[in-house]
């Protein structure tokens, strides 16, 4: 494991029936560090992210938070360790409005255990306005909202509560250039606050701009780890495509 890491993944494997989606992956994220996870479709990026966010357990291997082994049986377990996730699918309930989605699973209650709808609407409105000042019409089903607004809800609820590690699975896939730039700014701001970020992305240029470290997955294996400031687009793309395996010391064979 890495000293001072927020989270360590050690020897993580994942088997779906006969398919080995992950074949022993080690990965650490430190506070205030942006680690980018890149690779082709099907390389295992999302599977790794979902293991870390508690959607399903690994077949073998260990997740450590602050050096201590943990076992997540659901995403609410991961949340207890301040691990929040922005899923590629956003994981919103289309029939509920923005405040309901924002607080889904951790609703504010009145003294008698009833939903405190007024307070939730106020807090959600404030949090969403922080991300997008024009986003005020929040009390309607999210199925009626634009892709950017839906993304804003998913992002806002992930960073509103206690968060130490933020997993972002393709956070800009559905966004236009302006909104993508906003997400970039947000990542920098969160990093400055000491939050660790695991960023999963296709966009190598984005990754080079935002990440401290770049980790390359291919066919469920870690094939490379690069420092963002010492590498370039060609090298990363080359590694994604050809995938060179690392030896025990982390050097390229």
């Amino acid at each position: 494991m890495t000293d001072g890491a927020l989270v360590d993944l050690v020897g993580i494997t994942k088997q779906f029936g006969g398919v080995r989606a992950l074949k022993g992956v080690d990965l650490s994220v430190r506070p205030g560090e942006v680690v980018a996870l890149v690779g082709h479709n099907g390389a295992g990026k999302s599977v790794l992210a979902q293991i870390l966010s508690g959607v399903f357990p690994p077949s073998s291997g260990e997740i450590r938070v602050g050096g201590k082994p943990v076992a997540f049986t659901s995403p609410s377990d991961a949340r207890l360790y301040a691990i929040e996730t922005i899923y590629q699918t956003l994981a919103l309930a289309d029939n509920l409005d923005a405040p309901a989605n924002f607080f889904l699973g951790r609703e504010l209650r009145t003294r008698f255990g009833f939903l405190d709808k007024k307070k939730m609407a106020e807090e959600a409105k404030k949090a969403l306005a922080d991300l997008n000042p024009n986003f005020t019409d929040i009390e309607r089903p999210v199925r009626q909202m634009s892709g950017g607004q839906r993304q804003a809800i998913a992002i806002a609820r992930a960073i509103h509560f206690q968060v130490q590690l933020l997993i972002m699975d393709e956070p800009t896939a559905a966004l236009g250039p302006h909104e993508t730039a906003q997400v970039g700014e947000l990542i920098k701001r969160l990093r400055a606050q000491g939050i660790g970020i695991l960023l999963i992305s296709h966009d190598v240029r984005d990754v080079l701009r935002l990440a401290d470290r770049i980790v390359v997955l291919k066919n469920g294996e870690l094939v490379g780890a690069l420092t963002a400031k010492d590498t370039n687009e060609d090298e990363v793309v080359d590694m994604i495509i050809r995938g060179r395996k690392l030896d025990a010391n982390g050097a390229v064979k």
């Binding site: 966010s53 659901s74 609410s76 996730t85 309930a93 309901a100």
Partner: protein, 309 residues
């Protein structure tokens, strides 16, 4: 030209056309008589408990075909336990219904069986067990308190209980986190799971609630009839589903409300009542309810195609 109707107007005039039906019913002799209104109140109150449970299950994306059989089981269980007192009888019925719901919910969640198939199996099993236990004959209970529960003046007790249950269900769905989670699970189970909701547990709870309510409805019916009959409730899943669907619930889940279900219940109840007053033979009544359900499912299917999710 687009006409916008308030939700309440829509509820009362169009979906379902409750007020038009009531106006039409004025032409039916005896509809507005006190005796008939009482009959109507009695008949919708037991079904009302079941519609409340069915609506909750449907909001969470499920369906419960076993409600009629569980109702019969609940009535029989209550009457059989009556010698031990009315409280054990009621608890026994509730527990039996809850267990049957737990089994349905377990089949649906852990074994990933389609809710229609799972609750169909439960329906046949529960009905079979009830018929076997009673040897297909009604069990008779002669406890004064119990029989009094089937009465009530001017309003039947069962009707008051139904109103209380509907109110409680409404509060559960709209003012408690649990209800909000049920809507989220019904809309997108995977998203709900990723948000950290305990999807399986919640769905099992929905089926347990539906089972317990159906069994309690059976108890009330048995109190009114003075017997626990193993053959009641054959049409109940269909009338309850029709009422829930008319009231805005959807087979896709995530939609529906108790207020809507209440309107749907009144509509279906009045329809059956009017047919009874007109002397429509029960086979034609079945055809009508079946046709109504058919039409609702077709409309829902068309809507689903028109509005890709």
């Amino acid at each position: 030209m687009q006409v916008t109707l308030s939700p309440l107007t829509l509820r009362l005039f169009v979906k379902p056309p409750l007020i038009p039906l009531l106006l039409l019913a004025t032409f039916v002799d005896g509809f507005w008589s006190l005796g008939n209104l009482r009959t109507l109140a009695e008949s919708i109150s037991t079904d009302g408990l079941i519609v409340a449970g069915m609506t909750i299950v449907m909001i969470a994306g499920g369906f419960d075909l076993s409600v009629g059989a569980v109702m019969a089981m609940g009535g029989v269980t209550a009457v059989v336990l009556l010698p031990f007192g009315i409280v054990p009888a009621a608890l026994g019925a509730l527990i039996a219904g809850g267990i049957s719901g737990f089994l349905s919910g377990t089949l649906v969640t852990r074994l990933r069986i389609n809710p229609f198939i799972a609750t169909l199996a439960m329906m046949v099993m529960v009905r079979g067990a009830t018929l076997a236990y009673t040897d297909t004959r009604p069990v008779v209970g002669l406890d004064d308190t119990f029989l009094a529960l089937g009465q009530g003046d001017p309003l039947p007790y069962a009707f008051l209980i139904m109103i209380v249950v509907m109110l409680a269900a409404h509060v559960l769905l709209y003012h408690r986190p649990w209800g909000r989670h049920a809507y989220a699970v019904g809309a997108d189970e995977r998203a709900a799971q990723m948000t950290g909701l305990k999807v399986n547990r919640l769905k099992i709870e929905c089926y347990m609630l539906s089972g317990a309510l159906a069994a309690f409805a059976g108890l009330l019916l048995a109190a009114r009839l003075g017997t626990g009959s193993p053959i009641v409730g054959e049409m109940t899943p269909l009338t309850a589903a029709a009422a829930a669907l008319i009231g805005g619930a959807s087979l896709r889940g995530g939609e529906g409300s108790i207020m809507g279900a209440l309107c749907g219940l009144l509509f279906v109840g009045c329809l059956i009542n009017v047919m009874n007053l007109l002397g429509v033979p029960s086979y034609y009544q079945r055809m009508t309810i079946g046709g109504l359900l058919f039409a609702l499912v077709v409309v829902e299917g068309l809507l689903q195609r028109a509005r890709p999710r």
